[in-house]
Structures are given as C-alpha cells and as structure tokens.
C-alpha cells in the first residue's frame, strides 16, 4: 500500500470540464466522478432541475501523491471562489495492484 492524498472536489456540474482540464494540466488524468450529487452551500440549494442537469453538483475524487497537491489546489482555487464548491483533502492508503 502506498500513502496518498484523497482529494474530494465538489463543484457544480457545469464546472466539471473546467476542473478536469485543470487537473489534466497537472498530469492528474485519473479520477473518479460521482454523479447526481446535490448540496447546499453559500450559493443556496443545488439540485437536479427538471430542465437540465446543469444545476446539479458532481464530486470528483482523486488519489494522488502529496507533492502535486499544493500546486493543483492553487489552480482550482479561483474556480471554487468564483462558482462555489468545496475541496477536501485527507490521508489514505492506496492498494497498489
């Protein structure tokens, strides 16, 4: 098992592509995407609307090494600031296979 950071980013579905592109720019191409995520925050309730899933949230989870994190976080921070969302980082062990 390898020590990694588990990063959980929750943003509006509309920002999905933006975030994934920013991750890619830091060579973090592997991720997991949880769909159908609702939430409540400073910008009010976000939930699937009949017209377009664009007002829902998604959760992007990625396992990555500690080193790359700081830089990556700086790049997504402005997006979180502008459009809302949260980013939680925790410790985890990755089962290498």
């Amino acid at each position: 098992m390898k020590h990694v950071k588990r990063v959980e980013i929750i943003v509006e579905a509309l920002e999905k592509e933006t975030i994934i592109n920013l991750l890619k720019a830091h060579h973090l191409e592997h991720y997991t995407l949880y769909k159908h995520v609702a939430g409540n925050g400073e910008r009010g309730m976000r939930e699937d609307q009949v017209f377009g899933e664009k007002f829902e949230n998604v959760a992007i989870v990625l396992a990555c090494s500690e080193e790359v994190i700081a830089e990556m976080i700086e790049s997504i921070r402005p997006v979180l600031k502008k459009y809302g969302g949260i980013c939680l980082v925790s410790d985890a062990q990755w089962v290498i296979h």
């Binding site: 509309l14 699937d48 009949v50 017209f51 377009g52 007002f55 997006v79 502008k82």
Partner: protein, 324 residues
Amino acid sequence: MDLNTLLTPAVLFFCLGLTAQSLGSDLKLPTDLTKSLTIYLLISIGLHGGKELAHTQLTSALPAISVAILLGMTMPLLAYWLIRLSSKMDQFNAIAIATHYGSVSAGTFLTALAFLEMHNVYFEPYPIIMMAIMDTPAILICLIMVFWMRAQSEQKEINATQGLQTIVREAFTNGSILLLLGGLLIGYVSNDKSMINVQPFFDQLFYGILCVFLLAMGMEAGKKLNDFKKVGVYLVFFGIAMPILGGFIGVILGASVLHFSIGGATLVGVLAASASYIVVPPVMRMAVPEANPSIYLTLSLGVTFPFNVLAGIPLYYYMAKIAV
C-alpha cells in the same frame, strides 16, 4: 368565451400540478420523463411547422424572421430598462432577468397552440420558425451588454474570450433549438407519404403528452411559488406586467406588420410575452455568474409562466381579435 372553454385538459393538468405541490404531496414525475416529454414536444412542433412550410414559399417567411430577430433583441433591452428604472436591482441580475423575456417558453407556446386548436382558430406556420429563432438574438444582446458592463467596472474574467466562445456556441447549438430546427427541416424535406408513418406518434399523441408535460410544469411552478418572498413583491408584479406589455407589442406587430390572422397574431403575442425557462437559464448561469439563478428561475417559471398559461393566452387572443 366562458370559463369552460378556458379550462382545457392541458390547463387543468397544470392546475393539478400546482395543487399537488401546494398540498405538499409526494407526487413526483421522474426527471427523465419530463425531459423526454420536452424532447417529444419540440420535435413534434418542428415537424408540424416544417410540413406547413413545405406548402408555402420560403421567401414569404422573411418578414416573420425579421420580426423575430427584432423582438429577440428589443424585448431584453426594454425589460432591462424597466427593471433598472423602477427598482434598485443591480445591473447583472437585471440583465439576466431581462434576457429571459427576449426568448420564448416552448410550454407557453404549445399551450397557446392547444388553445387555438380547441377554438378552431386558424394560424400561420411562421410563428413556429420565429420561436426557433428568437432565443439567439436575445442571448447575443445580453452578452454584449454584459461585456460592456464588465468593461466599465474593469472586472476581469477567467479565460474571458474562451468563455465568450463557449457561450455563443451554446446559444447556437443549444439542444432545444437544434431539435426544433431539425424537426422543421425534416418536416420540410420529407414527402407526405413518409410523414404519414410517423404521424400517429408525433401528431395524434400531441395533446395528451402536452397534458402530462403541463402537469410536470405545474409542479415546477408550484415549487417556485415558495420562493416568492425571495424575489419580493415588486418582481412578482414585474413578472406579470412584462408579459402583458410584451403580448401587446407582439399582437400589434403580428396584426399590422405581418398581416397575420387572429390566430397568428395571438401566437406572436405569446412569443413576445413568454419567458424561456429551458434554453436561457443555463446560458445565463455561464454568461452572468454574478446573477442569482433563483431570482430569474422564480420569475420565469413561478410567475410569468403560470400567468401566461392561466390568463395571458386568452388575453392575447382577445387583443388579437380586436387588433386584426
């Protein structure tokens, strides 16, 4: 025109949805069902319009198209000016709301069609094309306005130009508009024989499916009713006055400039009066992130839409009767 003829099944289903929501019922239509119904209605109306157009000369549509572009561009400016003049709302929320009134609500338009058919009123096919066109100019005007506001306030955007491209493309390749235009085109080029095969699905089921759609819309509108306090009394008033003004302008243009029949003029009134809740909101969310979505969604879905379905359509019809 007595009450009984106003209460078509379609309008009654809308009321059922409103009621269910205000009783706090757990009634819920699957989201994918409502999306599917929307897709069906857009294609059907496109096919229908296309078939009608096939029997006319294309150039005869030009005046209607010009009026559509004119309405799409001036209604948002008019709405913006009214909001700013009469309230203290900030620029960004004002333009986001205003843009909705330049575009068209498919649900309102379809309910108007059902209303006219029920009263055996003839209408021209052109308003269907106008409907497909109007969203784009409204969105473009909004983008220009926002660009100018930002320039003034010297604000900078992340990837400003890339963002603009995305938004313009969104306005042109929006799924709903493609379905409508695609349906129009397919209805136009297909010969009558091959259309007969698809008519049981796209024509005969239309009004039944519209009922289920309006049931869903009633529930959505009902949800927004609870947000009334958020938008305030003034905006509720605006959400009713604006469509009346728009309907009036539309009917006049339809009757005098386009020389439409009563039915056609009613439909132009509906185009001008209604506010989009499908196409415009997600575009606004991208183009004007400064604005609060719950305000413009509440206004278009919770105020203007129910007003149009329940009172606006017969009113514009009444105006058209006088104007034509």
